[in-house]
């Protein structure tokens, strides 16, 4: 790994108080005072108030390939050797001992090699191998950049999930979405720029979308939670259950009057001004969100494409469709979560089948829909879980253990090559060995696609500059279109 030690460049000019305060109006990561230029909103807003210098994210920017990211998170660990990492030798040597060395740190005991119960087929012009778990996704093969050589550092769900989202498996750090908000802001002034739909509250919960030491308005905004159906998921306090909208409008008009008179007696105070504006912004968001979440006007064809009209695809289908609708509105980072199901230490055959069935069609539907709307060009779609699984068996030859040493994910759209299979694992899919892509490398590459230099996107906290990729990470130029 290249030596790009982080603890050097530390001080940039603190922003002026005036500039700081102007920007303190932003909320949900992006909401700014009307009329503020977009460029002005991205700096760390209130850091100077706490007496700390901040980095200047503008220094990290260059022309982007993608404007937004949709992350389809499969909570748990989908098995790479049963999905996107075709291993003929594993089939051949089913039941035999693994000839290599098993990792020093493991989460459970494992047995011999277990061939995949699923057949792999080649799809599209590219001939990418996809297992029969994902027949619909397979149809989109020529748009996929499948990375077989992903690896992380931790074999437990909680830690691996945090590392995937924040780059750290040890401490609470800002999540990828928060870094993007800090670096780029949002394109839509009336909506949160970082949304996570039905996120899990377990395995680190809110830390997966928290801004940690970055200012609070860069944190993700959850819509519902994993235990709530996508169609019933809402942002906290987005609905008023007490009065009619006319009455609420009257309240806000009066509030504005009261606040302005209060302000007039106090000369200049940007914070007070910002707070006045924040109510108008909140009101606009409150008006906009229900319409955005109302999918009743979508066509029958769209419903079919996402599998919304049927089980078991309905719930994840709605999540994916919402992701497209938010993407259209310029939301910067949208996460959808397939709740904690991908953890087959046993019952692999049935449960992986069931899990894949729930998401296969919606994933393919989203890709197809984005493509036909021209959105795939500048939307980076990312699919993956927190780790892969072992090629060796558990659970009476019907399960696999956690495996952070090899994991398959795919990217699509937003400046990556389609129909590409990048990186590889050993003969059995136990370890990534060629063109390895650590979570840090993936983060670096995604920031790059979004037009951000991961080494320059820094924020000072606790006496040193922090970045998403810590002191690691390398952009994988080979996968860029």
């Amino acid at each position: 790994m290249a030596g790009n030690s982080q603890c050097h460049n530390f001080l940039t000019q603190p922003l002026s108080r005036r500039a700081m305060l102007q920007q303190s109006s932003v909320g949900f990561g992006s909401l700014a005072l009307a009329g503020l230029l977009q460029d002005q909103m991205h700096n760390g807003v209130l850091a100077a108030e706490s007496g700390q210098a901040v980095g200047d994210p503008k220094l990290a920017r260059f022309p982007a390939r993608a404007k937004r990211i949709i992350f389809m998170f499969m909570h748990g660990g989908p098995s790479q050797v049963d999905t996107f990492d075709y291993k003929p030798l594993l089939q051949k040597h089913d039941g035999q001992p693994y000839p290599g060395k098993k990792p020093r740190i493991v989460s459970g005991a494992t047995g011999n090699l277990l061939g995949s119960p699923w057949k792999f087929r080649q799809y599209g012009e590219s001939g990418l191998h996809v297992s029969d778990l994902f027949p619909h996704v397979g149809q989109m093969a020529d748009d996929l950049c499948v990375i077989n050589s992903i690896h992380g550092s931790n074999s437990r769900h909680g830690a691996a999930l945090l590392e995937l989202h924040t780059g750290s498996d040890t401490f609470v750090r800002p999540s990828l979405g928060s870094w993007l908000m800090y670096g780029l802001g949002s394109e839509n002034q009336n909506l949160p720029g970082f949304l996570t739909i039905c996120p899990t509250l377990g395995h680190g919960g809110v830390n997966a979308w928290s801004s940690a030491f970055l200012p609070a308005h860069y944190q993700g905004t959850p819509i519902g939670a994993a235990s709530i159906k996508a169609e019933e998921a809402r942002i906290h306090f987005i609905e008023n259950k007490w009065v009619s909208s006319k009455m609420q409008r009257a309240e806000l008009d009066f509030l504005g009057q009261v606040n302005r008179e209060h302000l007039e007696k106090r000369d200049t105070d940007d914070v007070l001004e910002s707070r006045i504006a924040s109510f108008e912004l909140a009101y606009r968001m409150q008006n906009q969100m229900p319409g955005l979440q109302d999918i009743s006007q979508e066509t029958e064809d769209t419903y079919k494409m996402y599998g919304i009209n049927e089980e078991p695809t309905k719930n994840f289908g709605i999540q994916c469709l919402l992701a497209r609708r938010f993407a259209e509105q310029g939301v910067r980072f949208i996460q959808v979560t397939h709740s904690y199901k991908w953890d087959q230490h046993g019952n692999l055959r049935d449960a992986h089948t069931k899990n894949a069935k729930e998401v296969d069609k919606p994933i393919a539907g989203l890709l197809r829909d984005l493509k036909q709307r021209g959105l795939l060009e500048d939307t980076l779609v990312w699919w993956g879980g927190e780790f892969g699984r072992t090629p060796v068996e558990q659970g009476n030859k019907n399960g696999r253990d956690h495996n952070p040493h090899a994991c398959s994910m795919f990217l699509a759209g937003g400046g990556v090559q389609g129909g590409l299979r990048y990186g590889s694992t050993d003969d059995y899919g136990y370890y990534a060995i060629e063109n390895k892509v650590h979570f840090h490398d993936l983060h670096a590459t995604m920031l790059h696609l979004m037009g951000l230099d991961h080494e320059k996107l820094t924020y000072q906290y606790a006496g040193r500059d922090f970045r998403l990729t810590d002191v690691y990470g390398e952009v994988k130029h080979d996968i860029l279109a």
């Binding site: 030690s5 807003v45 706490s50 945090l162 919960g205 200012p215 049935d350 009476n396």
Partner: protein
């Protein structure tokens, strides 16, 4: 092997063992050098130089590959190559990827040819012509401590002289002198003093976190004394609310929370004791030095100095400071977990008390501050020698103290004695009443024997032999004959753990993961139903293998509610084919522990007899007009594994591996015959097995073909006619494979004859009860008698078997005779008052021995006259009443049981000095260290750490030494920032080189010295700060001052501030007259160490009206109102909260239930005021909400709003605008005034 050792070994080896080469004079033959030039050098350049040569910013891992010498020297892990020994060379391990830690090159493994080339090269002795000179060994940065000590923060603060100022009249105390001097130097003047209303609102919120009441305001306004303000400050400092407000500020620094956060989020249910301790000692004005020492080493303070036992417990509780931090509790790498926890402790301790960030030094010397790795590991050794955790398992367990005191122990003992007395009384009473009851029943032996014998028949040979059969079994009151039951923990082979003590009396269960195998000898081959009895909280499906074939991968998958005996439940797992002779039944689970399986049952599953096959008979659609019709949607089964796709039950697995089944529970109220009918469709015959109450009645049920699988083709078919007694019955249908598409199932009362019968040996509870009542017996004892007789059948050599095998009439006669004889003998024994069964020693006849045997059984404590479960309900009424009275007193006593608290905290561990972990990795150890402190602080002469001590005590003493340059400065700066919004040094957690320089260092130093000289009294510092003119300035804007000093670094006015998260919530509750000021305690309704978030856990509620400081603080799941208002996330250390203005705050104010409720209460409060006009009400409202009178403009605009809003609300609502309408309108006004800036900002 330590790196240096490896180095020496390789060197020695090299110098003396290998062909006489010396390192300096290595000569290689031309072939070797050619090999290097043609093969090795290009590989090194291509794959290694980027990071391991002078091309790199620094040598990664300290390794250079630029010369042979450099390779022999190696990097952090020691020599990279050992010539001639590829197997011992790190280089080979790294490029072969055979080690988790080093895999080089990191991106891709080298091609196999290249790996082979390196191997060969090392085998050749690593010929290499490159000179050491080529690699420029760069010297590491050396910390210059002498120079570092000149940095302001590392010099002990000295009390500076007071500066001269012009405007002496403004100066109230020395603080003002320092402030004014700076202002005057910049030609600025301090803002005018705040008016009294502003001041009391400011200082009341500041010290208590609550708004002043109207009475308090008026008292202050009326107090004409020059000491009025001082009196006010003293009153607030003495208020218990002070500790809640200011203790909470310290809790931000201590990153207090009620869960570990991060990965597996477990409740720190006892963390609140640390919080309560903090609130308490802040109220008591404990000196900060003592406070610090207690938090780091409370357990080590001299117990002689404790004023009371409570104080001792407080000191243990105080060490919770080190324990309550965020932790990863699930990490497969326990050593990493331990070092991460230590790191968190060092980070918190050093930033909280010294404002230094130590984290960097975990991996390398700090790049800016004079903190070498050596110092980090010296401190780490102190915490390594401290016990924070009980273990580092997945999931790890933290240490807790028991808070027993002599008083609590005495109370406990007193309680236990009282309980024991009651227990003894109860036992005596029970013994007597039970014995009376038992003897009365024993005298009816003959009746019991005969009645029970009617429920028992032997109609075939027992099915099993040779196994550890424990008897036939009565399940849910239904006798299952011809069954064998055995204890699950008595397996023949297996890796599972047999547990017989912890999960219920006489309940042995299986634990952990692995397998258990049972050998079962059967006389007959055939279909056997397998049933398992188990308890499980989570679904833990097991794999069932019979004779080597996996027959089901999902057995014992139900949940029963607990892991314990109370929820042990029987489940039918399916019917499986077994062979005659030995069968091997195997239960297994990998990847997780098994359910707590208690017993296993096999019962022969064969149709008893079939009178008439009706299964393909079409039926009419059942009509609801039939009385007693029981109709059920097929997919609404009680238990089952058939895919539910309404309206048709259909198998979706499409595989024959699985048993598909559905069970339906029917509650029969009128006993009689019932016709089973079902609605289904299928294109092919998919008949399955039908069971009624666990007995197979039809092996090919629901086999009629309709010609299609279309739901439109469903037809009703007859399934048979059955006789049911009143009560619960269960129908079960199952098939190995795909199933018909079922739609509905019905039971219809009928006068038809039964088509299947259960052979007359299948009796239910109700019948036993009926017989018992008719015979004047107790059903409970009769059931035990049936049970007893069934057991004698399975234990075939028992004396009764012969009788049971006889023909019915003969049997009855024999039983009557036997019963009479036995009863006679038993009565004699009972009358004699002896339990001896000596019997007639002269008679040795066979009959007599049977009588003797029966009497023995009848007297035995585990015999048929054993005490039934609910025996206390059977004894004489008088005894029952007495027993109930005692049981109730005991329940009351138990409810009032004195609680023994626990507190999180640390204690001394195994003393261990750590070596430096190179790059923070415990696998690469460097120089060893000794427990100690920071080298840069040389003005404090450190107390030596005794050999047997962790050193926490000495660390605490070192930190609280008056000469320590940081402790007092860092703390007074915190106090200043908490009062004034900003510190005198503006990066409160970082006093290092990257931190800010103080805006007024003389003042900071003066305060730091004053603090120590005032005995580290926190309240004394409050007085100084609050009574200064600086604090009493208004927040008025001044354009000129703003131009010169826009950030108010010179303090030319008071900083306006927003209420923080707790203040917003508490103030809302306060104006709604809704706040509960009860102090202390835990509101988190969770068991200690229980999961607090994630699926399946109870949601934490924040629906309390207690002060915010007492609400649960869950990491990873913080209360959303707190999140919106910049509460300090306890997962990241934050000495100063952020202060944002964001839309979630506006949404909260507009739409939350809390604001709605408090606005409503406030409106009611105002409407109830005994005032006449709306104008007066508006005045009252302003006084409550803003602490001031409404102006006439305020009154006018409120009037206008009320009018307009009233119109809108009338349109909105159907009912008239009455009192309820008034409430709605005033609520609207209240909500606006609460949302307004004036409520949430303090001038």
């Amino acid at each position: 092997m330590r790196p240096w050792l490896l180095f020496i070994v390789s060197l020695v080896y090299f110098l003396f063992c290998v062909n006489g080469y010396s390192q300096e004079e290595a000569k290689f033959d031309a072939a070797g050098l050619k090999f290097f030039e043609s093969k090795i050098r290009p590989l090194l350049i291509q794959y290694c130089y980027e990071c391991h040569s002078s091309d790199a910013d620094e040598y990664e891992g300290g390794l250079s590959v630029e010369s042979r010498q450099a390779l022999l020297k190696g990097g952090d892990s020691g020599a990279a190559i050992v010539p001639f020994k590829p197997a011992e060379s790190w280089l080979m391990a790294a490029i072969e990827y055979s080690d988790d830690f080093y895999q080089m090159p990191p991106e891709s493994k080298l091609p196999p040819e290249a790996i082979a080339v390196f191997k060969k090269w090392i085998e050749m002795g690593a010929p290499d012509p490159r000179l050491a000179v080529e690699s420029g060994d760069r010297e590491p940065r050396v910390i210059d401590f002498e120079q570092s000590r000149n940095f302001w923060a590392f010099k002990t603060p000295q009390r500076p002289a007071l500066p001269r100022v012009k405007n002496k009249a403004w100066v109230s105390n020395p603080i003002d002198t320092f402030i004014l001097s700076e202002l005057e130097r910049s030609e600025l003047t301090p803002a005018i003093a705040a008016d009294r209303r502003t001041l009391i609102r400011r200082v009341t919120f500041d010290l208590t976190g609550l708004p002043p009441t109207a009475t308090e305001i008026n008292e202050f306004l009326a107090d004409a004394s020059p000491l009025a303000y001082e009196t006010l400050v003293e009153r607030l400092l003495a208020s218990p609310r002070y500790g809640e407000r200011w203790g909470r500020k310290w809790l931000d620094v201590a990153r207090y929370a009620d869960s570990n956060g991060l990965d597996e989020n477990l409740a720190y249910v006892n963390a609140f004791r640390y919080r309560d301790y903090v609130v308490r000692v802040w109220n008591q004005d404990l000196s900060f030095a003592d406070f610090l020492q207690q938090q780091l080493a409370g357990d080590l303070l001299d117990p002689q100095q404790d004023a009371s036992p409570q104080e001792r417990l407080d000191r243990l509780t105080a060490t919770g400071f080190l324990s309550i931090g965020p932790k990863m509790l699930a990490c497969d790498d326990g050593q990493k977990m331990e070092m991460d926890i230590i790191d968190e402790q060092i980070d918190t301790m050093s930033r909280a008390f010294m404002g230094l960030t130590m984290g960097c030094a975990r991996c390398h010397d700090h790049k800016f501050d004079p903190i070498p790795s050596k110092d980090y590991y010296a401190l780490a050794s102190i915490f390594k020698s401290t016990k924070t955790m009980e273990n580092f398992n997945v999931v790890a367990r933290w240490h807790e103290y028991s808070l027993d005191t002599p008083e609590s122990k005495a109370a406990q003992e007193k309680h236990n004695a009282a309980v024991k007395r009651l227990d003894e009384e109860l036992a005596a009473l029970q013994k007597e009443s039970r014995q009376t009851l038992r003897e009365s029943q024993q005298r009816l032996l003959a009746k019991y024997l005969i009645a029970a014998s009617k429920f028992v028949s032997v109609n075939s040979k027992p099915i099993a032999d040779g196994h550890n059969v424990i008897g036939n079994f009565i399940r849910d009151g239904i006798a299952v004959e011809n069954s064998i039951v055995w204890e699950a923990e008595k397996f023949q082979r297996g890796t599972l753990q047999a547990e017989t003590t912890n999960y219920g009396k006489e309940v042995g269960v299986l634990l952990q993961q692995g397998f258990a195998e049972y050998d079962v000898e059967l006389e007959e081959a055939g279909d056997y139903q397998l049933e398992l009895r188990y308890a499980a909280v989570d679904s833990r499906p097991m794999v069932l293998t019979i004779n080597g074939t996996v027959v089901d991968t999902n057995v014992a998958a139900h949940t029963t509610g607990t892991w314990f005996a109370d929820s042990q439940t029987w489940f039918v797992e399916g019917v499986f084919e077994l062979s005659a002779g030995k069968n091997i039944i195997r239960l297994a689970r990998e990847g997780g522990p098994v359910p707590h399986v208690d017993k296993i049952l096999l019962v022969k599953a064969a149709p008893i007899s079939s009178l008439e096959d009706l299964t393909s008979v079409l039926a009419d659609t059942p009509t609801t007009e039939v009385d007693g019709l029981l109709l059920q949607e097929a997919e609404e089964y009680a238990r089952g594994s058939i895919g539910k796709i309404p309206p048709i039950v259909q198998n979706t697995s499409g595989t024959t591996t699985f048993l598909n089944y559905a069970e339906y529970d029917f509650e029969i109220t009128v006993a009689g015959n019932y016709r089973l009918e079902w609605l289904y469709t299928q294109a092919e015959s998919r008949g399955g097995k039908l069971f009624v109450d666990g007995r197979l009645v039809d092996a090919d049920a629901a086999n009629a073909i309709t010609g299609s699988f279309q739901s439109s083709e469903v037809k009703w078919f007859v399934g048979g006619v059955f006789q049911f007694a009143a009560g619960k019955h269960t129908l079960r249908w199952q098939r190995l494979g795909t199933t018909p598409h079922f739609d509905k199932i019905a039971l219809i009362p009928t006068s038809d004859n039964v088509t299947y019968h259960s052979g007359g040996d299948h009796k239910n509870l109700a019948e036993i009860e009926d017989v018992a009542i008719a015979q004047g017996l107790h059903a409970e004892y009769l059931r035990q008698w049936v049970d007893f007789l069934l057991m004698t059948i399975s234990q075939r050599d028992e004396p009764l078997l012969g009788l049971l095998l006889r023909d019915r009439d003969e049997q009855q006669a024999a039983f009557a005779q036997l019963g009479d004889a036995a009863e006679q003998r038993l009565r004699t024994i009972l009358s004699a008052g002896t339990s001896s069964v000596a019997g007639d020693t002269t008679s040795k006849s066979k009959d007599d021995s049977v009588v003797q045997w029966l009497v023995t059984k009848a007297i035995a404590v585990d015999g048929p006259f054993r005490d039934p479960k609910e025996i206390d309900k059977l004894v004489a009424e008088k005894s029952q009443l007495a027993i109930t009275a005692i049981v109730e007193s005991k329940a009351k006593l138990t409810a009032a049981q004195p609680q023994v608290g626990k507190a999180m905290g640390v204690t001394e561990g195994k003393v261990e000095d750590l070596a430096i972990h190179i790059r923070g990795n415990y696998l690469t150890l460097g120089e060893s260290t000794e427990r100690g402190f920071l080298e840069v602080v040389d003005q404090v002469s450190a107390v030596p750490i005794p050999v047997e001590a962790s050193g926490r005590m000495q660390l605490a003493q070192w930190l609280t030494d008056a000469k320590h340059p940081l402790t007092s400065r860092v703390f007074v700066n915190r106090l200043w920032l908490w009062h004034f919004g900003k510190g005198l040094q503006r990066s409160p957690d970082n006093f290092g080189l990257l931190g800010q320089r103080p805006t007024n260092q003389p003042l900071l130093d003066w305060l730091a010295v004053e603090f120590i000289e005032q005995g580290w009294s926190i309240k004394q510092m409050h007085r100084l700060m609050l009574l200064s003119s600086t604090y009493q300035m208004s927040s008025i804007f001044d354009a000129r001052a703003n131009h010169v000093d826009p950030e108010n670094r010179l303090w030319w006015r008071f900083n306006r501030r927003r209420l923080d998260a707790e203040e917003v919530r508490d103030a809302l509750l306060a104006v709604g007259n809704d706040i509960d000021l009860q102090m202390y305690g835990q509101l988190l309704s969770s068991a200690d160490r229980a999961y607090v978030t994630g699926t399946g856990s109870k949601r934490t509620t924040y629906d309390y009206n207690r002060r915010s400081v007492y609400l649960p603080i869950l990491r990873s799941a913080l209360y959303n109102v707190f999140i919106a208002f910049d509460f300090a996330d306890p997962s990241v250390i934050q000495g100063q909260r952020k202060n944002t203005v964001v839309t979630p705050q506006a949404l909260f104010m507009m739409n939350s239930k809390l604001v709605q409720e408090e606005a409503s209460r406030l409106a009611q409060r105002v409407l109830q005021e005994d005032v006449g006009t709306d104008s007066e009400r508006i005045n009252v409202l302003y006084e409550i909400v803003y602490g001031r009178m409404a102006t006439s403009e305020d009154v006018d605009k409120c009037h206008q709003f009320l009018q307009r809003y009233r119109d809108l609300s009338t349109q909105h609502m159907d009912d008239d605008v009455s009192t309820a309408g008034d409430l709605v309108v005033w609520q609207g006004l209240c909500r606006v005034l609460l949302a307004a800036n004036e409520f949430v900002y303090l001038d």
